[in-house]
Amino acid sequence: MNIQPSITVRGKDRYKSGVMEYKRMGYWEPNYEPKDTDVIALFRVTPQDGVDPTEACAAVAGESSTATWTVVWTDRLTAAEKYRAKCYRVDPVPNSPGSYFAYIAYDLDLFEPGSISNLTASIIGNVFGFKPLKALRLEDMRLPVAYVKTFQGPATGIVVERERLDKFGRPLLGATVKPKLGLSGRNYGRVVYEALKGGLDFTKDDENINSQPFMHWRERFLYCMEAVNRAQAATGEIKGTYLNVTAATMEDMYERAEFAHELGSNIVMIDLVIGYTAIQSMAKWARRNNMILHLHRAGHSTYTRQRSHGVSFRVIAKWMRLAGVDHIHAGTVVGKLEGDPNTTRGYYDICREDFNPMQLEHGVFFDQNWASLNKLMPVASGGIHAGQMHQLLDLLGEDVVLQFGGGTIGHPRGIQAGATANRVALEAMILARNEGRDYVHEGPEILAKAAQTCTPLREALDVWKDVTFNYESTDAPDFVPTPSMAV
């Protein structure tokens, strides 16, 4: 539903000096039909009390594109109408009085090709602090193919990652080294060796392991690569460990990444907090150096978690697929961290599919064509264990890295046993699924049967059988599928 018809002032009167409402300046265009080449953003707008919703939404369009608070004559030196973002649709948010979904179209020429920083400086720049709004959230974006094609995309992609690792047909298994802080390089490498030898494909540095007094980064890299190579020889299988190269400057990050490369690592890791430009730089470095690039989404919950204000993680996932990382943490549903099943499904689709159809019940507001950009491997990490294997496979599918940190290292008989338990549980579940069994319902039986010939799995199931994290999600979709829903 659109609340108001167009009231745009045109001609000479439009440029009379003074203050004019945004909706009269050309930022509210309910008759505008978005072009295939337009970038479209969907905002959840919560105006201050007494502020007209249409004006608030028009202001978002204005402040995220060409507008300032007053009329300026210099607009007339430009093709101003083209550069104005146009709010073309405003809908009340279901079950949320006082909030509105604003659909805003931006001409492609507003953006520098291949730059997430440029895109975000407009779309989430000044506008989020705009006083007439109580809160503002960027819910989703439609990225036109013409724009998608200006980005490198994932340096490696799911298919080539699997080919390089020679691992097909099952989720990959990983673990984050714990305790995340305090281990010396030598002890740290021990955890990596045990976990990889026991059956995991990957181990991982945690987000805040960089180069601290207890372990200089070079010590970590050297001992970790000893562990990776030892485990590879012990199993005949390719192994890897995400060496976190996050550092204070780009120069430091390149130095660490080059060292990882020199040592023969097949993967490096960065944190989201390094910023969009640094992420894109590392993605280009990763492609040049045949390196898989893992992204830990450190910090995202400060702006993704609350439904009223910030940026939805589905948008971050889209930006990161463009930016070119190969792995991204995207939620577990069943683990210890925030994750509504439907919303999480939407994130996974954004990472892995070539085309996302609009699916409001998953929080996906637009059709999105990825134009053959590489696929991005989602990573599920945080409070998951072998006893949930059937649920994880059902909810998250096959192209995912399942990371069992505590669920490996906390095993009563040690890290190798923990790793073996996870790998056996996974292989047993894949075998059963492929045989056509109803593995979701028979999951506990399938695991119990596999545990008959695998003591470590039996012990893992005994220790963690009752561990669940059932809390209400703060970020569930606004739409539930009902036959009468009109959108």
């Binding site: 020889a233 053959s372 292989e427």
Partner: protein
């Protein structure tokens, strides 16, 4: 040691019935099933020898199980793996791969280390089996 490449190496060796079920899964997905064998299980040995071409047109698991039996008759002392290949757009690669035959003894790998400057080590993974010529690696073990 036990080489743990492939999808099911941590489970007890699959029975023919179990293998046939996995093959049927591939066929139902429309994937081409491929049989390959090697006596060099180095983790970076990508190109195992093909037992004929990938079976693009076979639609019955029984046909593939017969090929596997023939392959085992000739190369039963080596590693044999079955893979499912998906030629669909955006994938065009292997979808699943698992070992269905192993040598009776798997001697494993030696890790060679070459010390270099700055505490760096250059690693090489060396398969004990390949000290003998191809074809003679597992025969009398």
């Amino acid at each position: 040691m036990r080489v743990t490449q492939g999808c099911f190496s941590f489970l007890p060796d699959l029975t023919d019935e179990q293998i046939a079920a996995q093959v049927q899964y591939c066929l139902d997905k429309g994937w081409a099933v491929n049989i390959e064998f090697t006596d060099d299980p180095h983790p970076r040995n990508t190109y195992w020898d093909m037992w004929g071409l990938p079976m693009f047109d076979l639609r019955d698991a029984a046909g593939i199980m017969k090929e596997l039996a023939d392959c085992r008759r000739v190369y039963g002392d080596r590693y044999i793996r079955i893979s499912g290949f998906d030629s669909g757009p955006g994938w065009e690669s292997v979808r699943i791969s698992f070992i269905v035959n192993r040598p009776r003894e798997e001697p494993g790998f030696r890790l060679d280390r070459q010390e270099a400057a700055g505490r760096n080590l250059h690693y090489a993974t060396h398969s004990y089996a390949v000290t003998r010529p191809e074809g003679e690696r597992y025969t009398d073990r």
